[in-house]
Amino acid sequence: MSTPSHSANVTRAPTAEQERLLDERLDGLRAASESLAAPAHLEEQLLAAFRAHQATHDATQRASKRRGEIIAQWFAPGIALAASVGMSAWMVLAPMARPMLDRDAPAAASTRMSAEMNAQMSAPMFAQAFADTPFIALQSLEQIALEPQPRLLEADVPRAWLAAYGVPVNPEMAGDSMRAEMLVSTNGQPLAMRFLP
């Protein structure tokens, strides 16, 4: 037995003639409504709103640009000073981080490289190759910075040394040796070191 709601949902299918008549009526509605459009004043209102919005937008942009100029004007000396300080600090600290790049490092590296490779690599490339592996400071940075003539020594060290610096070491390979570079002071005190891959 069908419920009232079921019977209510059933709509009789139109015949072909009824469909045709419906199409005619819908075409009539379409033709009659074709001329309908939004009120004419709406366009004027919207164009006025567009101009107002644009003016506000332009004003905001101008104000933002002006703010930028003011900031640049007032803060330029400060920024320049900060940049100078930063540059000075870099000039002091950079040699500390890579002390031998321009002097001993290429020479040390050349011992490990074939003559062909050496010939192909430029000085900046050498510097880059060495720059990739960081040094581990063994003394304070101040002490390293104060060292007048540090030297870079290259040596074979036991792989077990890696463990002392927190690097996991395979016990089976702990007895092997590996290449390391050590930065030493003029009196032979180790300042920093790094392990080479």
């Binding site: 709601s5 469909e19 009526r25 101009r51």
Partner: protein, 218 residues
């Protein structure tokens, strides 16, 4: 099939966003009439339809409408916005309609079914208001107005704006099968509502037959 060239629409929109007032005016002239007609036939009120058109273009100029060209054409997007604005305005009207409340239209789906998607007749119709001068067109419009809103959407977009099932599906956020079935049921309902107005030759069918599937646009 879009009524306007989507590429030109996109170029105008870009120009408008650069601050070109003429591009905005052109966009308005291209789209206002179809949007107004959709809103008018959908909600039956010229004032509301004008408000909706205004709101759409205000959203466009303030860049608060996020149109993505990758997801469809501008025209379809604007119809979608118009539909959402109509739905927003209708919310209050339908809030107080009980889905199980019996309705005068007892022989058809009205408000007596729990699922609002099954309603064929608007359970909270707008007061009748004459909008068209031609008597016959006005009768069809009023019959259309009696359909439930989700049925009205597909009829207006398909019959009055030549949109395809795919475009209507995107605008109404439903699948193509639902568009097809709603259109078929809505047309059958319209025939029923307009039957007294049809010539005698078009007598009602005396037997129950499956609904005729319309020749579809893709």
């Amino acid at each position: 099939m879009p009524l306007t060239d989507p590429t030109e629409d996109l170029a105008l929109l870009t120009e408008m966003r650069r601050g070109n007032g003429a591009a905005f005016a052109t966009l308005f002239r291209r789209h206002q009439a179809p949007l107004y007609r959709f809103a008018l036939l959908r909600c039956g009120s010229p004032d509301t339809a004008a408000d909706i058109v205004q709101e759409i273009f205000m959203g466009l100029l303030a860049n608060s409408l996020k149109f993505d060209p990758a997801r469809g054409v501008l025209q379809g997007f604007l119809f979608g916005v118009a539909r959402n604005l109509v739905l927003k305005r209708e919310e209050a009207r339908y809030r107080f309609v009980s889905p199980r409340k019996p309705h005068a239209e007892s022989s058809i789906a009205t408000g007596d079914t729990a699922d609002p998607d099954d309603w064929l007749i608007d359970p909270a119709p707008q007061p009748p208001q004459r909008l068209l001068d031609q008597e016959q067109a006005e009768t069809v419009r009023r019959a259309l107005q009696r359909l439930a809103p989700h049925y009205r959407d597909v009829v207006i977009l398909y019959e009055m704006h030549d949109l395809t099932y795919v475009e209507i599906a995107q605008i109404c956020d439903i699948d193509i099968g639902t568009v097809r079935s709603r259109l078929s049921r809505a047309r059958a309902k319209l025939v029923e509502l307009l039957l007294p107005d049809f010539p005698e030759a078009a007598t009602p069918a005396t037997h129950q037959t499956p609904m005729i599937q319309q020749e579809a646009r893709p």
